[in-house]
Amino acid sequence: MIGAASTASPLVDWVGILKVIGLSVVFGGGAVLLVSLGVLCFAHSEAAQGSRRTQLRAGAGLCAVVVLGLIGFGLAVMMSKS
């Protein structure tokens, strides 16, 4: 039977769902922004010359590193739940 504790709790964990939405927007949107910027830098670097090319490549690399960091953070959060 449904226990007292479960009947007292709200039917839907709206706070939890809102947190899921918030985290998804922040991390998903952040990842898309970073990858898009990285791709943009990489694409423009193909046509660039000299130091401009180096700067764009560095920008693309930086975006890739930050995305990898984001992924690592996500994995760390998941593992901390086990």
């Binding site: 449904i2 479960s6 839907v12 939405i21 985290l23 998804s24 998903g28 791709v39 423009h44 998941m78």
Partner: protein, 381 residues
Amino acid sequence: MHQTPLLFVVVGTALAFDFTNGFHDTANAMATSIATGALKPRVAVALSSVLNLVGAFISLSVAAVIAKGIVDQGAVTLDVIFAGLVGAILWNLVTWLFGIPSSSSHALIGGVVGATMVHAGSGAVEWNGVFGKVLIPAVLSPFIAGAIAAFATWFALRLTRNAQANAKQQGFRWAQIGSASMVSLAHGTNDAQKTMGVITLALVANGSLAGSASTPTWVVLLCGLAIGLGTYLGGWRIIRTVGKGITELDTPQGFAAETSSAAVLLASTHMGIPLSTTQVCTGSVVGSGVGRWIPVRWSVFGEMLVAWGLTMPAAALVGAGAFSLESAIGGNAGVIVLGVLLAAAAAGIYARSRQAPVNPENVNDPWDPEVAIATPATLAA
């Protein structure tokens, strides 16, 4: 039947369900990568398989929710779990035959709820848990994922609109492989845990495990292997529907869809809210079409919505029927008859699918615009 032999039957059936969950849901992670050509079909399913196995070991928070929040554990017997699994497996196989990406989670929950209701009445079902923790979040999930994917797709395309096409495709191709890998990992984390939850529930019901105990390591390993193997065999019929049937996909779009799915699934795992991976990923694909402002085949999505709505009641009905049959026959004979019927139905569905096979060679064939859903008959035409 003595409880321990029945426990073996239940654990084996649960792993069979996990296997069907794997091939049913390969599309979630890899359909877009296969459709855009970011990965070759066999490479995609192999990568997804390994990541599903790894994902099974990452977190156990969803397993705990499934085991403890759906039905009163005191009312659950091994026979109930067995009948519930039969309902879930049959629904998974039928929807796979028709190429419909329905939720394995809902099928599982529906099957167990149906069998429990016959066994102990509706009072043994924790309806607050069913509606609040599972059903309502799952109903919302495709729309949440779809909205995020639509925005992400629009944003990615807008930001890179002046980028050189080849470099753009190449960059997003690698990003798509990365994001699809994250979805595979999240799928292993989310979905393998559901079977872990069922097996844990069976162990508790059999008295082999204390109610407060955590999921044993051997359960985690077996569930990871079963879902990984199922993923490797690849549910090509559903991959085709998701990758080619909903909308036309290119690499930025596929990347945005997979990233949105990964973000929603990982966030839900973190919060311990078990969302349907299938509905999240399908919603993201639909959203990516909307975000790119290209046609979405709403008739295909509409049929999926109907199937999603039917999943829990249909699995519950089969689960209830299976339990009634098993109880009516009784004892060892009941379990054996039910097992034989399940095997015969599975063999029949598989044989039917061979009449119009979908495989790595034809999975990316152009979608017939006159076809709403990839039925075996229309695929054969």
